[in-house]
Symmetry: C2
């Protein structure tokens, strides 16, 4: 399992605008090979958000970043820039342990 | 959906010890009400790890933190302290968008 997190810091008072912009976007992720799950997460600290995507492995994520789906999804990103304190920060992770409810599976 | 991330910074050279300690632990999460998924994530930056747990909602997570399962799981934590640069940092998140492969569901 591979997870990519894009960390956003939203200007105070612009949280609703940020969330509505995301809700109005298409992720263009359905049908992308190796895509498992997408979430937009709201942190408990004010203005903290994560765009959180899960993939079967790093290769699937990297292939997506070079795909038409990635370009289509990110073409919409310009509308977010006005509500951010700075550029988003990407962090990526590989699983060492992967344990869904109901089983304990290899990473 | 609710995600809790406990962020660990591991001393250089101790990464294998840290991972093996986790692999030797029981999560005590199976059967806990509202538990969805657990992962130990290794970041691309040296020494960066996240204990990443997913829950149906915040209430399920909070109930777990007050349960016997939580005490049992964290009784094993002392063995990690020798390989960390400092205390772990917990961050918690609620989903605004929740889109698994195959569908786009409400958060």
């Amino acid at each position: 399992m591979f997870i990519a997190m894009n960390n956003f810091s939203v200007t105070g008072g612009k949280e609703s605008d940020f969330e509505e912009t995301w809700k109005g976007r298409s992720s263009y992720l359905q049908g992308v090979p190796g895509f498992v799950h997408f979430a937009l997460l709201r942190g408990d600290q004010a203005g903290e958000y994560i765009s959180h995507s899960t993939w079967v492995d790093r290769e699937a994520f990297l292939a997506w970043t070079k795909s038409e789906s990635f370009v289509a999804g990110h073409r919409q990103a310009g509308s977010l820039m006005g509500v951010l304190k700075g550029p988003p920060v990407v962090r990526t992770y590989e699983s060492v342990i992967d344990e869904p409810a109901g089983q304990r599976a290899p990473a």
